[in-house]
Subunit: 264 residues, 2 copies
């Protein structure tokens, strides 16, 4: 496990610093939004919305930890010259926080999508287990490669992690296609469709960020792209995706309320 | 009470560090999930669900403490070489947090299982006292052995703690068997059955982790297995088990609601 590289410019260091703080602000405020909306959706969607907030809550915790670890790893000072100097303190920057976060949140993300679709009980359980297990396996297979310096070994673990990755993406695009069409209204169908494609697109950024170090980039530049890339992908995959889950839950609650008013 | 051993590699130190942080994230988010779900279950299961969250809340507190104690016990630095060096600072790593945690949470865990079964009032009280007392005794008998270096003395306390341990496991498997069969529906019975077996399996990991030091392992490797083993066992026995308690409470609430609708 190689230590973090030396030689960051203040600009590079600062971009990562602010991307991590953006992560805290975005994830934390998304959490509060989801939980405050709980009474506004009907009972059957509250578990989905609770989990949506749990996902961004876990991410908030980890962004605080990553931010603090980033700050502790560097000593940034100005001795009166033209720019700040960034030096390593020798303290480790703990990259494993991201993987621990994904191990918990990625299966939960898929569960929130399945729950908001309100499939038959059996299908909900079986899909949750299948996608939850495959996505946890994907994260677990990614980590050994992430902490490797040997580029060949990195590619091997990347390839292995891509197997469950492709399975999950396939299930989202093809497997849930029928269920999406069977949703209560055209608005709901199109919202769920968007949520599924947002998942696929935001997920696809991760394997690209992962291979930043494999395509010739190294040192501070590679670390900068990696940290900023993962932070932006995380906010899209958790907070923005969560807003879509909320929109679906909200729309379906409204339709159900109208339905029960009409039948009474 | 022997001080924590010297000679950790960064990898070993880091695995424990991240397992403890995983404990904080998992226990903390589980707590919020259980408490946010309180309005979604019927009144008779709210005490069980409150206690489920209390258990993971107490664990969250202790994982924060254990994490901080772990960080303070070590000085991790890089002086420009290929890997971080891990040295003891001389500050103690307080292992008693786990035992204080178990003394509080293990009896509560059993009470939450008994409460969600909704046995007759008398049986609820007597079972809670019997299992609560036996499990507290089990934890109290385990601690004197945990802080011993003499392997024979460790085995003696381990053996003594196994007596109440076996009694609790016996009561869970056999004693609650009849009551499980008498539950309202097949789904509920099978959920309670799963919760009972999850308890037994996750509990059985503890005596194994305990004897890691008795089977020839020592030094940093033994400490690493012990800390990671206890952390994973705790998350399964408290957070995952809690999700099953919630699922039972949720399913039974739904059935009771349907029942009262039909009879009205």
């Amino acid at each position: 496990m190689a230590p973090i590289p030396d030689g960051f410019s203040y600009g590079q260091w600062s971009v990562v610093y602010n991307a991590l703080s953006f992560g805290i602000a975005a994830m934390g405020s998304a959490t509060i939004f989801f939980w405050l909306q709980l009474p506004n959706v009907s009972k059957s969607y509250r578990t989905a919305l609770t989990i949506t907030g749990i996902v961004t809550f876990i991410a908030t915790y980890h962004y605080f930890r990553i931010f603090n670890s980033w700050v502790e790893a560097f000593n940034v000072t100005n001795s009166g010259g033209g720019d700040y100097t960034v030096k390593l303190t020798g303290a480790p920057f703990n990259d494993a926080y991201r993987y621990v976060d994904w191990l918990l949140t990625v299966p939960l993300l898929l569960v929130e999508l399945i729950l908001v679709m309100k499939l038959p009980a059996e299908q909900t359980t079986s899909m949750s287990w299948k996608l939850g297990f495959a996505s946890a396996l994907m994260v677990a297979l990614g980590y050994p490669g992430e902490i490797q310096d040997d580029l060949t070994v990195r590619w091997v673990w990347w390839g292995l992690a891509m197997i469950p990755f492709c399975y999950v993406v396939y299930e989202l695009v093809v497997g849930l296609n029928d269920a999406t069409k069977r949703q209560a209204s055209a608005t709901v169908s199109s919202l769920i469709s968007s949520a599924r494609y947002l998942t696929v697109i935001s997920w696809c950024t991760y394997p690209f960020v992962y291979i930043v170090k494999n395509i010739g980039l190294s040192g501070p530049t590679a670390t900068m792209y990696e940290q900023v890339g993962y932070s932006v992908a995380d906010v899209v995959a958790k907070a923005v995706f969560g807003v879509m889950i909320w929109a679906i839950a909200s729309e379906k609650s409204k339709l159900e309320e109208q339905g029960s008013l009409m039948s009474s």
